[in-house]
Symmetry: C2
Subunit: 107 residues, 2 copies
């Protein structure tokens, strides 16, 4: 493997980060880390339009972070990218350390 930069790989990785780089989508990922749920639940969680939720989900799916499964009239999504969980914990720990004087503490 040469030292040359693999742009295809970089782009793919950036796409994953970009997909996670929106509060609503990140919220979905954290919710799905606790188990699959249907689109309707996520709509309620996010408090935005059905169409908006659907578009966010397709971005996460395109990036390979979640996968879907249609059962009956409902579509269920689940987390399919394990890496996220560990990273999220690490971020959370450093953020809490850094921000515990802020308004973050009355959660």
């Amino acid at each position: 493997m040469s030292k040359a930069i693999n742009m295809a790989l970089i782009n793919e990785k950036a796409r994953i980060f970009k997909a996670l780089g929106h509060p609503t989508r990140l919220m979905f990922v954290e919710k799905l880390a606790g188990g699959e749920c249907c689109v309707c639940e996520l709509v309620e969680l996010a408090g935005v339009d059905f169409s908006t939720v659907s578009k966010h989900l397709s971005i996460l799916k395109e990036a390979g972070i979640i996968s879907d499964d249609k059962r009956g009239k409902k579509v269920f999504y689940r987390l399919s990218f394990i890496c996220v969980t560990g990273f999220m914990e690490c971020i959370e720990t450093s953020l809490r350390k850094k921000l515990d004087t802020d308004s973050l503490m009355f959660v």
Copy 2:
């Protein structure tokens, strides 16, 4: 700790992901993971304008991912967010698995 969603925390996390969600910035982070370097080196690496590089760096800095250090006429940046490295390795592993039939292999 209640189950209520901590939006401030979510937003902050999303900002980190968003900052990493651009090929050029991700390239910088990977480069800086191997040790600090000056803006001029990153300009050469990215092949874009000095001003563009500077703006990308300030986004990473705002997100708390990198920090800077002016020495003489040059400004040096270094990775200040350790979480990234482990996550990147995890992503890389799963991406390589998934994409090894693609054009990624003649790196």
